[in-house]
Symmetry: C2
Subunit: 267 residues, 2 copies
Amino acid sequence: MKRFSLNQATTKHWPLPDLVAGCVEAGVTGVGLWREDVQAYGVEKAAALVRDAGLAVTSLCRGGFFQQDGWQDENKRAIDEAATLGAPALVLVSGGLPEDSRDIDAARAHVGEAIGTLVPYALDAGVQLAIEPLHPMYASDRCVVSTLGQALDLAGPYPAEAVGVVVDTYHLWWDDAVWELIARAGREQRIACFQVADWVTPLPAGVLLGRGLPGTGCVELRRFREAVDAAGYAGPVEVEVFAEDVWSRPGREVLTETLERYREHVE
Amino acid sequence: MKRFSLNQATTKHWPLPDLVAGCVEAGVTGVGLWREDVQAYGVEKAAALVRDAGLAVTSLCRGGFFQQDGWQDENKRAIDEAATLGAPALVLVSGGLPEDSRDIDAARAHVGEAIGTLVPYALDAGVQLAIEPLHPMYASDRCVVSTLGQALDLAGPYPAEAVGVVVDTYHLWWDDAVWELIARAGREQRIACFQVADWVTPLPAGVLLGRGLPGTGCVELRRFREAVDAAGYAGPVEVEVFAEDVWSRPGREVLTETLERYREHVE
């Protein structure tokens, strides 16, 4: 239980004070937070709320979207917010192709360069930029970084304390190279964050809100947890599920089930 | 135009005699056929219809689904049908995970073994088994073979005349390793079939019927065609689009637009 972290997205409609109280009551020690929710509550106020409750902020989602106007200022703000919250890692969802572009090579190269410009700022703030490879079904409209290998290659030029990667079971489970890539990520000391969700079908329209709680799908979740452990990762294990049917339930009930499933399928 | 082939799935509701007449009228010389449509019309009758019209059958879709009971007999029937139609290649959609299984490694290994058992039968029939890697979003429920590299590795133990691979732009476009893998497929003389569809978002529920006609999406289609050419492939270029909005239109109109788009974006 001491590595479990509840990513706020799993209980999307649970107000932050209730989520914090529910975590404390359940013995949960870490939470992954989302910028829009934290901003709506107030960043300083959220930082105090979580700190006073004794919870660690295990990550902040999300920076990235390097194709959008103003990405540099927006990502600096995200880094500032992560620092204020005490989150060690800012998860980067790198964005899709620019409008009307078919040049995914150029888009991927741009992500690497964009991250490079943020490195000094991130180092100053003490926040690690965590490149998250997203499932290839998001490559055009959400994230051109599709594999753990690509994420590691993009991180490569920069110090590991500034740029790491996210290992998320939902995005990577299909890749038969992932076990070797997790070992590489460990050797390169790049694993900034480990997130867990299960793969369930059929996928919903838009393919964003179809993730499953641990054990409801087909991913070898424990194998992933053992692989990141074997790679030297000893950090938090965030359960992060986006699903309308999960979101429609009370936060406390979802947390209870998530913890049971975590123990059975991940721990 | 002499390499263009209309895959029957693009004009799904166009009756076979009309499709054949429409292709002849448009100067199209090849068609890719589907088993269920051919069976409904009669295999021998379809073979005669297409042959008498002077059209080549460039592929038959599909064998595979090696997790289903009776896969061996079913695939032999598919090979027989391909031989009857004069199709050089039987496209294999290998199937997803067995029910309640999370062992994708085992499922992939089973695909290789299953194909191996069919090799003598395919060689006798003069039909090449064409392993199609499907997009990773289909890995659990439709096809555990997710990359061209996996398909080539599975084909590797068998003679190229018996087992090849399908290069389909829709399934492979996101993979930055695909250019090197196409070159490898060429060196190993495994490219059995080249299929073209474009990637468009948002994806529909179930993610099956959201493909785009050439040029409507974000895939570098001409780069793919040039890559298979550079790899030594000189065979047909099938346009294969699954999309409700395309299927709802008259076949002749879709063929006309497909040809225009093929010339502009592929040829």
